[in-house]
Subunit: 243 residues, 2 copies
DNA sequence: AAGTGGTCTAGACCACTCT
DNA sequence: GAGTGGTCTAGACCACTTG
């Protein structure tokens, strides 16, 4: 371990070097996602730094959302958990006023040619082909959100062999199980669209819609999914905290 | 100092007790906002805890946005800085494509009776009177945002003596100078509105608008301002990062 | 009982700012 | 050069989880 990394050689603080190295191991070393990563004691010996330095490195990874600590059990790789996020932007109350878990359904999957715009977003060569998905999200059998999803063929080709009925409710855990691709973070851009008629939402042409463009990234911050979601603007509701 | 606080008496971790105590001193002790707060060494002696514990307490206050550290100079109370935030939600490019600092103008100030809804939001007695402001925000002389603002009379009465021409571009630093009220954080709720005609935006009645409702709070998390802002939905654009 | 992360201490030296 | 926060160490004991 000590030979494999050249700590103390850069200008970066020690805990930053350790953080970056652990971050790489998270994606490359294939640690079991249900088992704790090595303990702080072990890491401290591995890297030959004090335990306080390890703690600071891990603290940053926890802040980044890559790891979670559980006292008495250990430190674990965080599983994808924000899969329900497009629904964050839309209010919905069922008859009883309770919050309901929305259902996701893939309606179409296809293999398509890449194009300059999409492949630039996904940071892949222009000639690489893409997988294209259409998906809806329902609450109480009402279609709340319509989605188009683009994925790099090189990472997700195995999805093409799966019938759309077999796609699970939440896509991100499904990506991980089927393709070993782990979504760790995302950037979403919200804007407002008029004069667009979505075939799934079945909205009136003049009815305003909210458009959410999402670039989802893996643990190394490489984009691996691009998604556009539409929903009725009238249902839009979002809360944000500012400091 | 040691007598004035009873550390070690609660179940809270030491650094949490210290954090809470320093947080109270920030609003009550009237430290000069341009001078550093006591050094970590001094605080460590004051509270009779190790310097590591002080550092952890201060670290939390920095994360909360209450303090900023500057290496070599000291730790300072953070001045209000998110004053331009309603404009975060609206895209605007001037002729040169550069980003422009919007201008804020108060158009009306009045003293009004409290009501159940507003006084509940501001967490003040129903009978307390309010100060009501109307304000616009311009970019290149175009009105981008129209705002209504409500303030508790008890904290902001001195504003009534100031002619509206004297109100400054940014309100939060102005609140601090005139009324010693410091905005430290805020919660904003976004939604779409149709069929509302705003007198300043001069929008068509059918034109959809974005409504931003903000509750702004002081350093002790008490709400001291409620604000509703409207802008054209077509100009809406917002980016959010998810982990 | 053993092992994990959580809290806390008491130092050391470094990088930066100001005078 | 003096003083600030930034980094790093090498321990100690506590709270929690699991066998």
């Amino acid at each position: 371990m000590l030979d494999s990394i050249a700590l103390h050689n850069f200008k970066l603080p020690l805990y930053e070097q350790v953080r970056l190295h652990i971050q790489k191991r998270l994606s490359h070393d294939k640690w079991d996602i249900n088992q704790p990563i090595p303990t702080e004691q072990e890491l401290s010996q591995d890297y030959n730094v004090s335990i306080g330095t390890i703690r600071k490195a891990i603290e940053r990874l926890v802040e980044e959302g890559l790891l979670i600590k559980i006292q008495g059990k250990g430190t674990f790789i965080r599983k994808p958990s924000f899969s329900a996020s497009p629904m964050r932007f839309f209010r919905y109350r069922n008859a009883e006023g309770a919050s309901v878990e929305p259902i996701g359904q893939v309606k179409k999957i296809a293999q398509i040619a890449g194009n300059a715009t999409l492949n630039t977003i996904l940071q892949i060569p222009t000639q690489e082909r893409l997988i294209y998905l259409e998906r809806i999200r329902l609450v109480d059998n009402i279609i709340m959100v319509s989605e188009k999803i683009w994925l790099p063929m090189s990472l997700f080709s195995s999805l093409l062999e799966i019938p759309i009925q077999k796609f699970e409710n939440l896509l991100y855990p499904f990506y991980y199980k089927q393709c070993n691709q782990f979504i760790a973070s995302a950037t979403e851009n919200l804007s407002f669209i008029q004069h667009y008629q979505d075939p799934y939402l079945n909205n009136a042409i003049h009815e305003p819609l909210l458009k959410v463009c999402r670039i989802a990234k893996n643990i190394e911050h490489m984009p691996i999914e691009y998604r556009e979601s539409w929903g009725r603007a009238i249902d839009f509701n979002y809360e944000v905290h500012i400091i």
